[in-house]
Amino acid sequence: MTVSDTLLEAFGADAIATPADLIPTIQVPLGSIEAAVARVQKEFGYTRFVDLTAVDLLSREERFELVYLFYSLDSNAWIRLKTRTDQQAPSITPSVPGANWYEREVFDLFGIEFVGHPGLTRIMLPDDWQGYPLRRTEPLGSEPVDFTVTRKVYGTG
């Protein structure tokens, strides 16, 4: 039985199809993400935490998709865990120290609060920054470049 099959069986109906990069991807409910991470790390040997990020799907409910990536040193393979959330997610930092800055980054740029994180503060942006720039509802923003010829256009002087 391949790793993928084992995982499919273990995670039941929550497993989803393999994407273009052939990394087995498992969708888990938000409540069981900690348990799933613990299982993937301890039971299946995907011990190395690689990456955590979020994707703004702009849906009305469960707007953000959290994407966790782990790597197994025994089988030299990645595995991806996904979960959906609106606002909050349980922090995995207490059991996975490497996720510390990654959760802070997602909090900083998407505004997802990781409950149980030891020091959830902004990491990229200044502490007094308003808004969450990687949300797709945030405008890209631009600063007019100050050339003498463009001053009249932008009314900057």
């Binding site: 994407p19 273009a20 990069d21 990394i23 011990t47 190395r48 935490f49 690689v50 990456d51 990020t53 994707v55 703004d56 994407v67 990536l69 790597y71 040193l73 030299n76 393979a77 990645w78 991806r80 996975v96 120290p97 490497g98 996720a99 510390n100 800055w101 740029l109 902004r122 990491i123 990229m124 942006l125 200044p126 720039p133 990687l134 797709r136 945030e138 890209l140």
Partner: protein, 399 residues
């Protein structure tokens, strides 16, 4: 950190908070550290990042996939071609397009040359941070040759954007390949030179041996990868473990350290330079002839001469430069071995010409998390050696 304990004067227990950086010559850009000191001993170290945050991941969402290549150069600016490669591989994975053999071999050659250039910078700047200024000049002498090659082939020394989804921008001239070949002949001798200056240098060893020890378990727990992880004795190299670009067909070793101290991390990188030179030689020896661009017209534009003859070529040309590449909806991540560790772009597409999300798994970001672990308990003077040995690039930490 026994050595540090010995040499460092423990204070009276009165703690002093010192701010190091963001403008500090040894912080390799704009890294700020909040250090809590007891005499000369670091009790607590908190890295503060974000000074170079430019919202690159946000910018990706407003650019076409081809324009995105330009942004990847600017993330890890010492490994521009490696970043181009990682980004291109992710998008090619999404599309599922075939890359001609010559392009693949050239990619390996360019990625390894970039690795040598990056490690040269590491050796030079680490020595400079520890007070030895001459190795820096020698390292830059050779780095300059490599940058000259990049300039000849792409027109730019650093921000090359030369590796793109679908292949390369253009072919590499045979004269450049013979110049690279001549350069590679001299390179092992140059590496000996740096080693003569540093590897056995008692002052350099005193400053690095037993300093900033990172155990293999801690390194893995903190997500550390690349030469820093290998310095701690874990022989994980994605070129071996999960080969891409045909790395499985090259003969090279994966140097590892035993103690996980700054000295081991230095040794690993120097040894890696030799391995990279060997890979470059093998790439040159097997260099096939042929095209360097995929024939998939949805990814790479048709050659100029076809435009005068084929209506289809005109349409492809027009679609590609207006809409850009439109990969099928889905996601892809391809992990590659950058000079700093596991680098990968997580690209999410909805089938349109603009990505939904491009996230860079930056090796320096994870590696820098280990800084408190390796500096706490050591002398404040060793913090500089610890930062240098991690070789962080703030451009990709902050993005």
């Amino acid at each position: 950190m026994a050595q540090a304990e010995k040499s460092a004067e423990r204070g009276t227990g009165e703690l002093l908070t010192v701010n190091m950086g963001p403008q500090h010559p040894s912080t390799h850009g704009v890294l700020r550290l909040e250090l809590v000191l007891d005499g000369e001993v670091v009790v607590h170290c908190r890295p503060v990042i974000g000074y170079l945050h430019t919202g690159i991941e946000k910018t990706f969402e407003a650019k076409s996939y081809i324009q995105g290549v330009v942004l990847t150069d600017r993330m890890d600016y010492l490994n521009p071609l490696g970043n181009n490669l990682a980004y291109a591989l992710s998008i090619e994975k999404l599309i599922g397009c075939e890359i001609p053999e010559r392009a693949t071999v050239l990619r390996v050659l360019l990625a390894e040359l970039t690795r040598v250039a990056s490690h040269l910078m590491f050796v030079g700047s680490m020595a400079l941070d520890l007070g030895a200024s001459s190795p820096f000049l020698y390292c830059w002498r050779e780095r300059e040759h490599i940058l000259d090659f990049f300039e000849t082939i792409s027109g730019v020394r650093m921000m090359t954007s030369f590796i793109r989804p679908g292949g390369l921008v253009r072919d590499v001239q045979p004269e450049v390949l013979s110049a690279v070949s001549a350069f590679l002949e001299t390179m092992p001798g140059h590496i000996d030179e740096y080693e003569e200056l540093l590897t056995a240098n008692p002052i350099f060893r005193e400053r690095t041996e037993g300093v900033g020890i990172l155990s293999a378990d801690d390194a893995l727990a903190l997500g550390v990868t690349g030469p820093t992880l290998r310095g701690s004795g874990v022989a994980l190299d994605l070129r071996k473990a999960n080969p891409y670009c045909g790395y499985e067909g090259y003969d090279f070793g994966v140097p590892t350290g035993t103690h996980g101290d700054c000295y081991d991390r230095y040794l690993v990188r120097v040894a890696e330079m030799r391995e990279s030179v060997a890979i470059c030689r093998q790439a040159l020896d097997r260099m096939p002839v042929g095209s360097v661009r995929t024939s998939d017209r949805k990814v790479m534009p048709p050659p100029r001469e076809e435009l005068a003859k084929s209506m289809e070529a005109v349409i492809h040309h027009f679609k590609l430069w207006t809409e850009g590449i439109c990969p099928p909806a889905g996601e892809a991540y391809v992990g590659v071995e950058s000079p700093r560790g596991e680098l990968g772009f997580y690209v999410v597409s909805d089938g349109s010409g603009r990505p939904v999300r491009v996230h860079e798994r930056a090796p320096s970001f994870a590696n820098l998390q280990s800084l408190p672990k390796i500096t706490e308990g050591g002398a404040v003077a060793d913090v500089v050696a610890c930062i240098a040995s991690l070789d962080p690039i703030m451009g990709e930490v902050d993005r």
